[in-house]
Amino acid sequence: MIISVVILGAPYSTQAPATALRFAKSAIAAGHTIHRIFFYHDGVNCANELIIPAQDEIHLPNEWQSIAKENTIDMVVCIASAIKRGVIDPTEASRYEKPASNLKDQFEISGLGQLVDASIHSDRVITFGP
């Protein structure tokens, strides 16, 4: 089955990105395909390369990065949600004349159309709320 996941909660202040990660790993292990992870609202903070958790805590941005890399999962960050929270790629940094960008590798900034597209191309869309 083709499954897409929507993450609305911020890492470390809600459980959403951690629960979604466990769900995605189990789905892949069961032979399902994860088509896209859509990071929306506070969920976009998962794509911040500058996040440094304590050493004995799970590194959620790194976990998402590796699962995406190993399974070629499309990871899309909502542009409207991202830029207002200071999560920007080099293109947005130059557009808004910012001195740096912080979007993590494997993540891509795009629009809500990608969420619509994910629901069209997936058998299930599972939302993990804040």
Partner: protein
């Protein structure tokens, strides 16, 4: 048939009540994260679970364990993360309440 997920404690949110009002016969409710507090016997939310035999109730085991809770297997079945995936596949839609 729909799989509803509930991630808030019944002590901090009314989503369990709201969700039950919209549940159809044969739907399932899976308690995740702080939602698992609804599964404890002797509480108002457990009474609601008992009053709705037409709904299948599940609770996510890792979230119960993380909170030092267990669930009574008679009314609320415990599932692990693989079981969550199986439920999402078995039911035609997943509706998240948060």
């Amino acid at each position: 048939m729909i799989l509803h997920t509930i991630n808030k404690s019944p002590y901090s949110s009314a989503i369990f009540n709201d969700c039950l009002r919209l549940c159809s016969d044969g739907d399932a409710i899976l308690f995740i994260e702080d939602g698992v507090y609804a599964t404890q016997q002797g509480t108002d939310s457990y009474q609601l679970i008992e009053q709705h035999p037409e709904v299948n109730f599940f609770a996510l085991a890792p979230d119960l364990e993380a909170r030092g809770l267990t669930s009574d297997q008679a009314k609320v079945l415990t599932v692990d993360d693989n079981g969550f995936v199986e439920l999402a596949v078995k039911y035609q839609k997943v509706q998240s309440w948060y």
